[in-house]
């Protein structure tokens, strides 16, 4: 829009050249979009994010049953630096609230609690958020997570700051990312009614 106004008011170029210029602009934008999409697809397999000395490996979550208000987010965080950092918060638009929780099963009892102060990532260490342990607790989901989609989120670190990531939505009972690709069957949360 700005382009058209500028061209029309100032340079006095012919309508044809104006259209060609606009088309060229549009195609450039389109090419850029394709390139970005291609890059995104190309990195999907590795699916990792870097922020300073931190590497965030494969954030993922599970498809949720209909009406489920919660989901768990998992990933690994490696600190390649020399000073500790701390995951202090997680933000996610698809969920009203996201907290850092820990769960454990002791004597057949599932126990869950919030992790006050967040998770420290010591220098040289990898902290795993995985089923049965630390996880991002997505709450007040606005809609079910569907298998195959991605959930945008932001990890907030004490030092590395805000790191945008995306959580790949795996099968409803997936134990690990990309494990048992057929395990989810047709039972995608939110799709089976």
């Amino acid at each position: 829009m700005r382009h058209v106004l500028h061209a029309g008011s100032g340079t006095g170029r012919s309508l044809a050249s104006l259209i060609i210029a606009s088309l060229r602009h549009a195609m450039l934008v389109l090419a850029g979009l394709c390139l970005t999409a291609g890059l995104a697809l190309g990195t999907a397999a590795a699916h990792e994010f870097k922020a300073g000395t931190l590497t965030i490996g494969h954030p993922w979550t599970r498809a949720t049953p209909p009406s489920a208000k919660v989901g768990g987010g998992f990933m690994s965080i490696t600190n390649n630096g020399t000073s500790p950092d701390r995951l202090v918060a997680v933000e996610c638009e698809a969920a009203g609230v996201a907290e850092i929780h820990h769960m454990a099963t002791e004597n057949g009892v599932m126990k869950m609690q919030a992790v006050p102060g967040g998770l420290e990532i010591a220098p040289g260490a990898t902290v795993k958020l995985a089923p049965g342990g630390y996880h991002v607790m997505f709450m007040e989901l606005k809609q079910p997570f569907t298998q195959g989609s991605s959930i945008k989120g932001t990890l907030v670190f004490e030092k590395a700051g805000r790191v945008p990531v995306s959580f790949k939505v795996e099968a409803i009972a997936s134990k690990a990312p990309d494990a048992h690709h057929d395990h989810g069957g047709k039972m995608h949360g939110g799709k089976t009614q």
């Binding site: 049953p65 009406s67 057949g108 599932m110 869950m112 009972a173 039972m187």
Partner: protein, 206 residues
């Protein structure tokens, strides 16, 4: 020589005495009955259900069933257990010798969070799983307390920065056709182990 014989006889006498004692311990009737009293888990109940009509446990006579205590705002154990249970039931369906019994087999998901899980929400939630999984909703307070106590289930509300979550027993209890507790499925067991236990439960059913 005499001293040696004496030692030998004493030793044999001790062995004999031990054998008699061992025999007594092994063969004597026990005061406590058969050890594990299976009847001590569970009890009669009538609870609101996701089928629209309350479930009376008296109607379960003759049919093996499974019970699980959970809640819908559970990020890991509950959906995973229900999904695995659905898969395990499909495995049993595929066995021609058990298909008919598997078809009649029911799994009851009793919410420990009736404050948030009402019948329609629980029904919608369970629609992601096998239709043989039915939700039961005890009334918050004494009714929930009573059923949890009868099934030896632990649950408690845990505050989180934005609200609360529930700690709860995450085993699946298996009951035979006589209503006796015969075992549990654990969330950390393999599919093979769970299927084997369910298979045995169904095989024993008449």
């Amino acid at each position: 020589m005499n001293a040696l014989s004496l030692i030998r006889y004493t030793a044999w006498a001790a062995v004999a005495a031990l054998a008699i004692m061992a025999g007594y311990v092994m063969l004597a009737p026990r005061g406590g009955g058969s050890g594990l009293s299976t009847a001590s888990i569970g009890g009669p109940f009538v609870l609101a259900s996701t089928t629209g009509t309350p479930l009376d446990s008296a109607t379960l006579k003759g049919k093996p069933y499974a019970l699980f205590f959970g809640f819908t705002q559970c990020p890991d154990v509950c959906p995973t257990t229900m999904f695995e249970m659905s898969q395990n039931m499909k495995t049993l369906d595929a066995d021609p010798a058990l298909a008919a019994k598997a078809k009649a087999f029911k799994v009851y998901f009793i919410t420990v969070d009736p404050e948030r899980d009402d019948a329609s929400l629980l029904k919608d939630y369970l629609s992601a799983f096998d239709p043989r999984i039915i939700g039961l909703i005890p009334k918050d307070g004494p009714e929930l307390q009573r059923i949890a106590k009868e099934f030896h289930v632990f649950y408690e509300k845990v505050k989180t920065p934005s609200g609360y979550t529930m700690n709860h027993t995450a085993s699946v209890f298996l009951f035979d056709g006589a209503g006796n507790w015969v075992g549990s499925l654990d969330s950390q067991e393999s599919d093979e182990t769970r299927v084997a236990k369910l298979r045995r439960l169904l095989e024993r059913a008449s």
